[in-house]
Symmetry: D2
Subunit: 164 residues, 4 copies
């Protein structure tokens, strides 16, 4: 089975988020992974553009019911019409989940990915969550670069080891 990676992020994002998303998309496509995203603007459009630039496959799982509202660069469009309930579907579709940047919708996807459990969840930029004692929550991996984000998914373990 081909590897699928869910990539989440705000529809209104910073230029750094956009640049990171584009690079994450490109790197995932180079490794042959299918990218699953929300098919809207911002990080979603950028990760799709990056993946397509490297010949990759990108699935957009839309909140709306109209395929015409999807961002460009999607290979396949799933217009769920299910509203924000589609966030759970996106994070459920990845062998890993990469979250880029911060917004309330994006935070819901990070939280749903952690709630799901059993798959790596990697954050690149964005918001931070503290427990009731003010300590960072464990479980989310934090990356500083797109390359590190892919490494922390541990989906391509031999690429992590120098000399291989």
């Amino acid at each position: 089975m081909v590897i699928q990676v869910a990539v989440c992020g705000p529809r209104d994002c910073t230029s750094e988020d956009e640049s990171n998303a584009r690079e994450v998309g490109r790197l995932l496509a180079e490794r042959g992974a299918v990218v699953i995203c929300g098919g809207c603007t911002g990080v979603m459009a950028a990760v799709a553009a990056g993946a397509r630039s490297a010949g990759g496959t990108v699935v957009g799982v839309l909140s709306g019911a109209d395929r015409a509202d999807a961002c460009p660069d999607l290979s396949i469009v799933i217009p769920t019409g299910a509203g924000e309930a589609r966030n759970a579907i996106i994070v459920n579709s990845g062998d890993a989940v990469i979250v880029i940047g911060g917004s309330w919708g994006t935070l819901s996807e990070l939280a749903l990915a952690m709630r799901r459990g059993g798959v790596p969840v990697v954050q690149l930029g964005g918001w931070r969550v503290l427990d009731r004692d003010g300590r960072p929550l464990t479980g989310v991996e934090h990356a500083s670069t797109p390359q590190e984000a892919l490494a922390l998914t541990r989906l391509w373990p031999d690429r992590l080891r120098p000399g291989r």
Copy 2:
């Protein structure tokens, strides 16, 4: 944008349904269409097998949350975890909807496709719906063969005309 066709049918189907589904999958793949199905057994597994045999792309939109429960021959798996609510997502994802064989779940997909409106809905075998006066409902196209099912979607109009 690539053409997407939703193909629906029972998880427990007749051998004729299975054979039809396999052929519909093959024909759709030959025309370059992406097949969207429910990713389970029966018609769903058969249309996936047919499409893959011709090098096509097949997306399985599962009712369950576990990718491991998907049928083979899927290119991409979307494990929604949304139960039967996923039926609406499948029919919403097609530029046309082809329904093969009959079951209550399949009938719900036929009905949701007609409820959606605006896209061709083609039935190949299966159940019949009559209005309160005992007359067949209009709107659903009825095909006798896989070839006719594709023709009735009107997605490839020039293929309908002999001599081309």
Copy 3:
């Protein structure tokens, strides 16, 4: 636990459907059952009005996300924002499902109720479904009157016996 009955039907219905829905709502409320409906116009508004006229409780499970779009006479509004995926939620919420009148959306609810299995499904008017040999499908109970519809749910068995 209080008995819950899902009542489904078209947003554009006949006056006979509307009258039937109102009476079904009234009878359910008299028996102390909570009515679950789609919270829109037509049969949905009529069953809510009938139940409220008898002091009953009615839950409207909306397809849209805005509570303001609900019909009057609802006790509680659940604006799912999940589109037609809410149909599965409605039929899943009843100890029995009563379907009044015919439309594609209504047929999807009838089919999902039968797909669910394990609860009585009663039709009052509306469309008919035939199998591939032209025979009526078994499993759906057909009522001619609101009183008969309630009786066929078998939720109040002692009321079926004359002399009680």
Copy 4:
């Protein structure tokens, strides 16, 4: 229209969360508000118990499809079978959202409530969210007691002013 308040929290919660949830439920019922919760254990069961102890109405919107899995003290059960997609439905159903305690599922509901916008979102205990510069996010109201949580929803403004 009756006021509806969504109350979210972990299925495994602290005893303080449980005590707070019970009191929030009781206070909401006293004010005549319908409580919408997830119908599971922990905070969900406690808010239901509190509301019922004061004669209130509580709706449990379950992730599963089986009504038998609901916590006691629910007036009405909506077994969605939609998995975590039901979180969006819960927060969408409140004229205000009160979040008690912390877990990933609970955080997804807090985030979806803020994503929805337009309704007060109040947190009582639980996790904290910081933006990328380490500053607390604005928009969520933080309460220290059940009484303050209700006050911060601003649904009963005259109760906030002494002397009225």
